[in-house]
């Protein structure tokens, strides 16, 4: 049963932030809110005010500029992202990820800002975006701040958002030349939530050696887990399948998954290793072109 609340529908971003300022800890922001409503229905969340920002047009945009990179407004829906031509062209991994995020109905209604603010470690966008070195812009009535998405994700369902703050924009830098990025989750049903997931982004230098790399694991801990040991291992190295296998081993050691009914911790570690190996290999091949 959902507890009673007052529904507020600010007509502009400014009004939204004023409302947030006014109601502070008595309110909760909804921006799509399909996951939020599940929690509310369980009676796990009680709030006096629900501030709906989904319809705020100011935050519904996709901008791309080769220099400044990609900017996605917080209220942009998943389906808008997966069908955006500039994203298809410049960030195919985002399209692939969004495409498998959930069913079409959920992608039609859910927003990128809502997803990230929910802080579910099994959510798909965060891992991929961290691999792509994304930043996130948040703000309140007093102003805005930008932080890395990695720092934004704090814990199970917890983000760095402070009271009165909302997500405004996701910023993804333009990938360097010779960059490949991949993402895959392990599940038994297409487009289901992943038991675990891995994202990899590999950038090669002129000599075909690894210039930069990121490996980020989803549902592998209380927040997306970046495997820095793998990144160190690969930097400066050439294509080598043994190396990918080694990277997989490291990933399965460095992640912090937990047991639940779907898989044991041990199985999750194993899968994360396999996915890391596969994603690195694919990303590398993509980077080679």
């Amino acid at each position: 049963m959902i507890h009673d609340f007052t529904y507020l529908k600010p007509s502009s971003l400014k009004e939204a932030l004023t409302m947030l300022e006014e109601h502070k800890d008595d309110c909760k922001v909804i921006c799509g809110g399909q996951s939020l409503l599940i929690i509310m229905r369980q009676g796990l969340l009680v709030t006096d005010y629900l501030i709906d920002i989904k319809h705020i047009k100011e935050l519904d945009y996709i901008q791309f500029d080769a220099k400044a990179g990609l900017k996605i407004g917080a209220t942009t829906t998943h389906h808008t992202i997966e069908t955006s031509d500039v994203i298809k062209k410049n960030y195919p991994v985002l399209v692939a990820m969004e495409n498998k995020l959930a069913s079409i109905q959920v992608r039609n209604w859910g927003t990128i800002g809502g997803n990230l603010a929910h802080g579910d470690p099994s959510g798909d966008p965060a891992s991929v975006l961290i691999a792509l070195k994304a930043n996130i812009k948040v703000g309140n009535a007093k102003g805005g701040r930008t932080l890395t998405l990695e720092d934004f994700c704090v814990d199970f369902f917890e983000t760095a958002l402070e009271e009165g703050e909302i997500v405004l924009e996701v910023q993804v830098p333009t990938p360097e030349a010779k960059t490949g990025a991949t993402y895959q989750k392990f599940n038994l049903l297409e487009s289901d939530q992943g038991m675990v997931a891995a994202a990899a982004a590999v950038t090669l230098n002129g000599g075909g050696k690894c210039k930069d790399v990121r490996v980020v694991l989803g549902n592998a801990g209380p927040k997306p887990v970046r495997i820095k040991r793998v990144e160190e291992l690969l930097r400066g190295k050439g294509y080598d399948e043994k190396l990918f296998a080694e990277a997989g081993k490291i990933a399965s050691e460095d992640c912090e998954p937990v047991t639940d009914i779907h898989a044991s911790e041990e199985h999750r570690r194993h899968l994360l290793g396999v996915l890391t190996k596969r994603m690195l290999k694919q990303a590398w091949e993509q980077a080679k072109g």
């Binding site: 009676g43 009680v46 199970f156 369902f157």
Partner: protein, 150 residues
């Protein structure tokens, strides 16, 4: 569900044991503990508040010591219920203290928790992960506390 773990604390074992039984001190160390009240020698009532993301849980319950071998071993059992009826949990705790040299004591614990109600579904995964965090913070606080005492 069984949550197991161990951590080390630098303190004399006797002192550590006493601190663990000093409810005020213990409450100060245990993250989210609002109140621990001694009912009799083996019975304690506790209220603990925890927050996971948007979900806030306030558990109220009673723990009963079932076996105490000072200063190395203790067992207790208890039940708690969320005050807004989100769920219940039952637990059985075994704790062992062992001197491992260098003035350090290793505390190992095993908690067998079963949850009911909404918490069971939502809580399983999170409780496990959260326990690690709670353990970390508890160790830190305990260490601080012990410094003050010794």
């Amino acid at each position: 569900m069984i949550i197991e773990g161990k951590f080390t604390v630098k303190a004399p074992i006797k002192k550590l044991w006493d601190t663990l039984f000093d409810m005020e001190a213990l409450a100060a160390c245990l993250p989210g503990a609002e109140k621990i009240e001694k009912i009799d020698d083996t019975t304690y009532d506790a209220t603990i508040k925890q927050k996971v993301g948007v979900v806030k849980v306030k558990m109220k319950g009673r723990q009963v010591l079932t076996k105490v071998d000072a200063p190395t071993h203790l067992e207790m059992e208890g039940e708690a219920e969320d005050i807004t009826k989100l769920g219940r949990l039952k637990d059985k705790v075994t704790m062992d203290l062992k001197e491992i040299g260098g003035g350090e004591v290793e505390i190992s614990y095993a908690v067998d928790v079963s949850m009911g109600g909404k918490l069971a579904m939502f809580g399983d995964r999170i409780l496990r992960a959260k326990s690690k965090e709670v353990e970390k913070e508890f160790t830190k606080n305990l260490q601080e506390k012990l410094k003050g005492i010794t």
